[in-house]
Symmetry: D2
């Protein structure tokens, strides 16, 4: 039967537990049959509301109730790293589910698996004090409140995170914060109650990666002001939104620090690995959805051109094939990274995660763009989910660091092999030289059927 | 330790037996330390010979002896499908080895794992009669003779294999063959003793895929004439070579037919699957080798430009990173296909094999091209293996069917989902419509924050 | 001095009149110093209005007044084709101006050079009756009213324009129209008073390109209903907008037909040529603007990463160079097409126009995408014009026919050379054969240093 | 009539003299009807010779005779810069001819317009002493001898030309040269009598571009040794060839210096401009030829696949269209650069030349690759000119500096606009701010329909 569990790539199928297989199919059914229809209704409720930002479409709560009944809740916490509070799935297993969640606007939140809460919950679960966990982790795990992670700043180039300037001063038994943050996703929601704020604690310490701290700041703390909401390619993403927020003498008790002073980078590095897997798999789900819409369109008998179905035009078939192939290849890259996180941890899977981070968004954008193009004007309009999906996928080439930063990092790591590969090739040439002598071959003879100079050897 | 077995992608590491891990490292060491140096000497022996086509560089025999002693022989026959004569490895395991074999000109032949013999041995082992196996399979398995597969023809578009015209007539107890073949790889070698020849047996049968047969034709049969050898981007590939061969009233006994009259397509479809995995993995090995040469070059202190190492230029680091990433992604695609062949068979892995077939050569060409470019002029010359590797990889976009044929086939297969995805999207719209009514939403409301027309629902 | 007239590519500089050079610099100054600042204020006026669709930002009228005083009005009407009403510029000269107009949201309309009015004015000027010209052309030329062109339909694949279904029936001395149109750009404006409507007049005539007519329909005709406005990648483009409009028994006098029954394709073919040049040049202006914003960003001293300006990273410099190069190449293609229209007409410049139509939008999207990426998150937000420019450029791969339709058309035209090139190559081979005989060369000798078979000759 | 003169892009047609139009058609006819057939025979003569490197195929001399009779000789010397010895054509006019010369292996040499002689003749004509011109320029202009330019060196990264190490010492009244050169194209020919050698004259002068000199060294000077010939992607390019040459105490009189000590860079900068136009236009001719072969193939009735001509497959038509479009765009870029050289000089056309240098080879490789792919295996073999053309075009991404060096240079030049564009955008924001105040708009209002923060203004 064709269902989510039957589509797991064979290369990792045997790593998925019977329970996960079962839940995977439940997730698919829930997404396709409940969440996607609800997406439309949610959008309509929001649009009809007097203010997009204060609206609370009820449709989402209905979905949450359904999800809980199905046992689809907090699947993102990997069992290996959070044995006590995990729903019992590995990163691989949740990754497979996240692909389906990514096909819907609402599915991730409906199952309490949506960013940035997932990463924030991981941070508090891993690094938070017991008091912090009691106050914030509990309601987050129950989906009663939401949270935001405030990192990127408008006044510096945040792609180099060590640039962050939000000032943290310890005054008495309080931390006082001053500065600006933006792209604070989720900050628009009335239910967003807690901000994890990264700021600069020290100016002069030598290691640029030991100057920042993460502080818990309740959203309603005096001095916190949401200046405006940012749009993404014209989409405001209400009521979730992406906030531009200023901090003016915002005061919190010193007990609100996470892990310790100057340990901010330690936290974000642990935080970002699994999150990138989730993003990437959701993005793959979006690509699959775009391909499905494209298949519908190019076979629509009402949309024949020049005497043929669109699907009978060779270029369209080529697009379909390439989309299939590129999606499949990308998925393997992400799942391989997920497994490496499962078996080692995010730090041990640095290369694999980076590969997924860079490959997937570009693939997704390409697939969605083909689908948009196959729809003609409708593909850019509100009549398909494609435009919004494209805008969303476009952000993934920037969030958590632009592609170029990851590529430079990957390239430098790969370049560390320079000495060993140079030594190997020199060894091979020396051995070849010995063979030349042994066989009385002229030294200037050579390579692959053509003369090879001494310099080669 | 950094060795071949340590580099297996984690996603499939647990599928590789202890024995295969051990042999994989032996293969790597054999290739890097014995075969690659021998490549240079072999080329020099060949170049110094009076005729490139009659030359028998002794260096290859030395390698074969070493390979046998190391137990590296016939690793390509998968244990699942050839339990009695297999060396005991799966397609996955041999695929991992083939990557390393692909780094050397000689390694595949030195271990009796070189095309087209591998595919030919599979054909005779799977479909040949006992007599055929005695006469041809034995000496092939022992590496005493070599073979060629004669399929492509100069006078038709062979990318559509049903076009093949080589005429097979049954006259008395003989088959009489007339016609032309080319790209008969390996036909140039004096040790090539047997041709597997595909020809047209029937003209009028309705099914175009039941008209052809495969006949065993000894290379020295009267009427067989090697007209010339073809070059590939200027390389003649001597003494292996790619023959253009004519058949004039070539007669063989009827017992030389394989499997039966009209069953040629059955044979080639079974033959091509694993072979594509081998090609693809060797091609990945070539890409890895190109990357190694590139790393050597861009860190060569003698080759600084504008005050910096080449590796300090951002664009070069970008190339290195992309190469790493693209190689890794492609490898996962091939290994996934190999496992599917192992668990099902080539037919069951049609999609996965096609994806590997199309993705890998383009990736390899891109990586080699970057390496060539980083070397400047030297990269195009005989001073690096890159030009020959590029020419070789370029053929893979054509052999066994050009990319475009595979893409059209893949696209049409994917397009078979049209009805189910259309039904699903319509179901989702209908459910959304029901939610609109339930929630008293105006029917023209819509999608993702913007108005959506009735036509959407 | 660096000004617009100094940047004209040398290849066509001598074709630009002294007057046009002078006006070109005036256009640049007007756009950069007046229009672009006004874009921001206009947007703010619109945003503050109670309804985006009924708003009339006064800022635009101020600009129109300035434009008229500068003599910048109706520059689009080419002197060769409209000697009496032209402002005196060629398509080349106006094309050069259009590049600068394309850098601003308002500049085209401020100079009465905005689509779809430009094309509509051309149609009425060229094909309209005197009465039609009196009633509609006059006020359009004066900028007192605006217009829309209703062609694309939601229920068919409009990329094949012969699919259009809007029904036109002649009943008495009236035409009665029924059907749906969408992407009716400009229909949202209160000042949009007249629609040029393309519909199907005949069902059974043999030539599919002689079945449609163009009818003038006043926007306030009973039965015309704007159902909704379409968004483009999330942008609604208010108050201009892209309308989805239904026609229910819409009646107009038979004198409202343009040119004659069944002559719709004649009209749109004449209409689209120059319009594509305008679009393309404006698009090039957008690309130049994106490059300017990128240059500003990557040299912003506040935005250093990893110890360097963004502009010191090699990949960024590579993007800048490629953007420069690709913009320059595209501009030449468009200007060459403009000149061909000037010297011949749109039909004579079919190939050149199609090349511009396909090349420019993809180039523009690439350049804008690089600029967005160099800005990080800000590049996708409302803080730069880039996102809106990207959305606008994306439509150009679809409007006036998707890229793929143009490419197929171009390809088929180019393929018409098949017989002449085949004959030429055969002639060359025959002559070579004669040389072989003359020089006593063996017939199988060959090509470029390698053996060439008889089949070659 | 369809002939070369009728195909000149309209944008520059009026710049071509009547005489040039006439000769352009003569060139085309000579190339298509005489040179291309002779290419095949020349190759056969060469192949049949006992040594490829000492062979003198007579066919070339026959062509030279024909060329002279047609008046096709030395067309490359631009009339503006060499009024006395020019054949009377501009760079634009010769560029148009060079496109056709580029379709044949022999045509350039047959008309005495082949590299590196063209550049060498320009150097001696422009910078040589009267004695040098008498001795070397005369016989070169008459085609009695050939020459080589020795610049690139094997032991340094020559893409940064200031790295060159060939040592020049003045000892008495002689210069003594020691070092290695490679990619010395043409050095393989027996008729190659004179080398222009660039070497390092000074070690410590501050300006790295004033340390090198160009010395005339007769090929038979003692101490000059051709070590070997380099191959390009497997092609040896005999008898022209690409030499690897060593200099051991090579002595020439001091009068053999060109222009003066330390003025080498002055010479090569003047030399490279027009040469790049020639290369680029010949490369475009190769692309046109590849497209012609492709058109022949995809319409060959013997090569139908899956029931259709190849040209009926949509992907093939797409390739044809893109090839047409990309060739046309590239040609405009080159012609624009040629005109700029004509009107200014090579230095004044730096940007335009660099754009041509980078754009054309990649375009040509793409077009040839599509043609190769459309031929299947034959496309890689000796049966079409495509493989040799590809190898030739591939070198153009490296010779005269790799693409990447040109792109970095272009990017840095473009980046010089940073201050002016930043100032302009700031001015626009300031003006917008003033409009906001004037119209009582809130300062935080914004851009393109969405809120825009103060930071924007």
């Amino acid at each position: 039967m064709d269902c989510a569990s039957s589509r797991i790539p064979i290369i990792c199928r045997d790593r998925v537990s019977r329970k996960a297989l079962e839940y995977l199919d439940i997730v698919e059914k829930f997404v396709e049959e409940e969440c996607i229809p609800a997406d439309y209704a949610w959008s309509a409720q929001l649009d009809g509301a007097s203010s997009r930002w204060e609206a609370h479409p009820t449709i989402l709560n209905d979905l949450k109730d359904k999800a809980r009944k199905l046992g689809l809740w907090n699947m993102f916490l990997p069992k290996a790293h959070f044995p006590t509070i995990s729903a019992g799935f590995s990163n691989l297993e949740y990754g497979l589910m996240a692909e389906y969640l990514g096909k819907s606007v609402l599915a991730s939140e409906a199952t309490n698996c949506s960013a940035p809460d997932t990463g924030n919950m991981e941070v508090i679960a891993r690094y938070g004090s017991a008091a912090q966990q009691n106050e914030w982790l509990e309601p987050l795990l129950e989906g009663r409140i939401r949270s935001a992670f405030l990192m990127t700043e408008p006044d510096v180039a945040s792609s180099d995170a060590s640039n962050m300037q939000m000032k943290i001063e310890k005054i008495g038994d309080e931390y006082v914060l001053n500065g600006s943050k933006w792209w604070s996703s989720g900050a628009g929601e009335p239910s967003c109650k807690i901000f994890l704020v990264m700021g600069r604690h020290f100016q002069n310490s030598k290691d640029p990666y030991k100057q920042h701290s993460v502080i818990l700041v309740p959203a309603n703390t005096p001095g916190v002001k949401i200046e405006r909401m940012l749009s993404v390619m014209g989409f405001d993403d209400a009521p979730h939104g992406h906030g531009h927020i200023t901090f003016s003498n915002v005061r919190v008790p010193v007990s609100n620090i996470v892990l310790g002073e100057g340990r901010g980078f330690e936290i974000i590095q642990g935080r970002l690995g699994p999150g990138r897997i989730h993003h990437a798999m959701r993005s793959i789900g979006a690509a699959e959805k775009a391909l499905e819409w494209m298949l519908m369109r190019v076979n629509d008998p009402a949309k024949r051109t020049f005497g043929r179905q669109l699907s009978e035009h060779g270029v369209i078939i080529d697009w379909i094939a390439r989309s299939r192939m590129e999606i499949d290849a990308s998925r393997l890259v992400v799942l391989n990274a997920a497994i490496k996180i499962d078996e080692l941890n995010a730090k041990g899977a640095l290369r694999e995660i980076a590969e997924a981070k860079v490959l997937v968004p570009t693939m997704t954008l390409t697939v969605i763009d083909r689908a948009m193009q196959s729809f003609g004007g409708a593909g850019l309009s509100q009549d398909t989910p494609l435009a919004a999906m494209w805008a969303n996928a476009r952000t993934l080439r920037i969030v958590d660091g632009p592609d170029e930063v990851h590529l430079q990092q990957m390239g430098r790591n790969e370049n560390k092999r320079r000495e060993s590969v140079t030594a190997k090739i020199k060894m091979q040439k020396a051995k070849a030289q010995a063979l030349f002598m042994e066989h009385n071959l002229p030294a200037s003879r050579g390579f692959l059927g053509n003369g090879m100079l001494k310099s080669m050897l």
